[in-house]
Symmetry: C2
Subunit: 439 residues, 2 copies
Amino acid sequence: MTTETKTASHVQQHGKDLLARRYATLGPHSPLFYKQPLELVSGSGVWLTDAQGKVYLDGYNNVPHVGHANPAVAEAIHQQLLTINLHTRYLNDRVVVYAETLLSTFGGALERLFLTNSGSEANELALRIARQHTGNTGVLVSDFSYHGNTTSLAELTTGLTVREPLGSHVRPLRIPDTHGVAEADVPALLQQALSDVDAAIASLQAAGHGVSAFLFDPLFSTEGLPQLPARYIEGVAARVREAGGLVISDEVQSGFGRTGSGMWGYQMFGMEPELVTMGKPMGNGHPIGAVVTTAVLLDEFGQHNMFFNTFAGSPVSSAAGLAVLRFMEQEDLMAKAAHLGDYIRTRLESIAQGNANVGSVRGRGLFFGIDIIESDGRRRTPAPDLTKILIEDMRERGVLISRVGPHDNVLKMRPPLVFSKAHADVLLEQLELSLRNLF
Amino acid sequence: MTTETKTASHVQQHGKDLLARRYATLGPHSPLFYKQPLELVSGSGVWLTDAQGKVYLDGYNNVPHVGHANPAVAEAIHQQLLTINLHTRYLNDRVVVYAETLLSTFGGALERLFLTNSGSEANELALRIARQHTGNTGVLVSDFSYHGNTTSLAELTTGLTVREPLGSHVRPLRIPDTHGVAEADVPALLQQALSDVDAAIASLQAAGHGVSAFLFDPLFSTEGLPQLPARYIEGVAARVREAGGLVISDEVQSGFGRTGSGMWGYQMFGMEPELVTMGKPMGNGHPIGAVVTTAVLLDEFGQHNMFFNTFAGSPVSSAAGLAVLRFMEQEDLMAKAAHLGDYIRTRLESIAQGNANVGSVRGRGLFFGIDIIESDGRRRTPAPDLTKILIEDMRERGVLISRVGPHDNVLKMRPPLVFSKAHADVLLEQLELSLRNLF
């Protein structure tokens, strides 16, 4: 037995043992990527290293927004941990400076902030605010969405398995997608989609729920990154407001410059939501989330509820959030995302044109995808199994990506925002090779 | 103008400005302690320093469990931040080692773990598990309790103001308190309290809700630290199980050795809950929470729900939790809490005997209180205004404490667990002086 095989066998045994120990503590249902789970032991920027020492380009993870093991974020957290870390019932300037910095990225009436520890907590709070303000309970969501893991959010989950039945106060909307639709047919698609909204609102009103909120991810990422007809969101927002409801933009996926077209995903549209929620990339992995809203809505909620969140807004959470915003600004990451997103899109279009198994190019900025299809010449059908094979093959090639959408056939690529053209070239080259070799 | 007054005026102006800036971002309702909010700028162990350089003994904060700015926790987090921080869809040994270490503090059937980012998220999840398992929705809570800030938890909040009405599926229980009750009357008190439980369960069943869970804080801290009749909790648990419900011990306040009589508050009683939730002290301020449960309940929930929590169980959150457990063990903090708790209790009893404004001594281990009362010779009534004055006076004396209970007249003292006899002596001496001077 050579040293090399000894090592390989040792590493393999370690992985098996670790998986068994995980099952014995966290149980077997906690989700894991890949047929053979991947043990990652270190990271830096857009690179990750596994237990065998193999290095991967991270084309998937949006939580480490300013890069894996970002030293500026680590140092900000470390220094604050060594200074003080307490809840917001005492004054501390960190949370105020962070709140000012974060709110400065918003315009219009969005000038107040509630801090939380996650996107789930943020969406929970936004829905509480909307229900209390409107006196209604009805919620509109897309028909393949996920906004968090609490009871209220489980009751409106349409995009993954939960045991709670869909709430009687929830109406799922089919989100119109112009991919593959002839330009002449888009107005009819839009009209149909808005008629569906009218019908959903009428149904909520008839059932006595009324409309409290329309809750949506501006990228519709769980939904597979559809391309919306122009003015669809504006049309939904107008109808929801007409019915007395509020608009909640869930920026967990689309926020913090991800789309390239603004700091917040809703800025892609001609409307301003009453409530904006955020999470994932906000602290580069430190647990932090928020609800940004108007002074009127914050005051109303605050007057009627003793609302407190122990960890949220602590000096350390604030320092983490602040370090992310400052790093983004120093490195001009939003502008880079826009520029690089355009480059990637162009190259993906060219890949798509040369491959019968690629249906369409999707996404915005640094959240991009292609859908993998099979075609018998007449009909094009989603190909989830091929998609899975492709993702496993990309892992072998040292590139981490995943998949999303109702048919699980849209490649999900949303790397850390410190992704560069050189990184994109590696990803695109391997993707092209993988597509060519497999199909 | 001397330099000194210039500085004092500058500091005062800074505080006013900071408060105004906080109102302009977080709004005016986010709760603050004290008539003049206290700006804390640094901490170390059990000591905190304000913006004027004044030092305070921390007799209040339980989140910095192993001490403010604990260097071992800061270093563990820092090193992990510089190494890797990702969600649990990839394998990483940190979460497994932490899960094993945390679960080793439990006995019996409590051998599986869900990680979350807060106590609110933990209680949300525990209730989801209980509702799904039992097929019932009814919940028993105390009539002055708080378990978190989500919609489901707001619907069963009885101890602070929320706009949501108490859920029709919720029955509040008056928790029996033997303080001031003659020993001969305790059996009747217990019998009455358990009859109330029977009536609440019957009412839930009659309304078609059934019983999903009894959710309680073993210290009943929000409730003002009542002294329970022996076997009350065992009696409630038996009745809830008989009705098909589960018992959820909310250890956010009582866990991690706080009571001195075990790692977990429920260990004060002769029963094991099906679900244990935790939060606050778990990561010394890092946002982390958990649900510990049986393999059967975890498997059932996992089979029917795609449950995932982005931040929870990350290597950094796990490193924070692990550093707290290791520090506790190295410093033998649980045994110290038991020993010091006994000492404090004895001294509080002697303070109470000498002061007509002190009703009774309450609490366990390092969560202790006295209730402040007024007496006209015949009747003893709670004195919330005196309590408030006392807390402000203690602040002037350099000791931070707070108050709790339905009448807001129970002093709330639960210092970091690194509290020593010397620290306790400072707190008790100042408390004695304050009581003597004020009343």
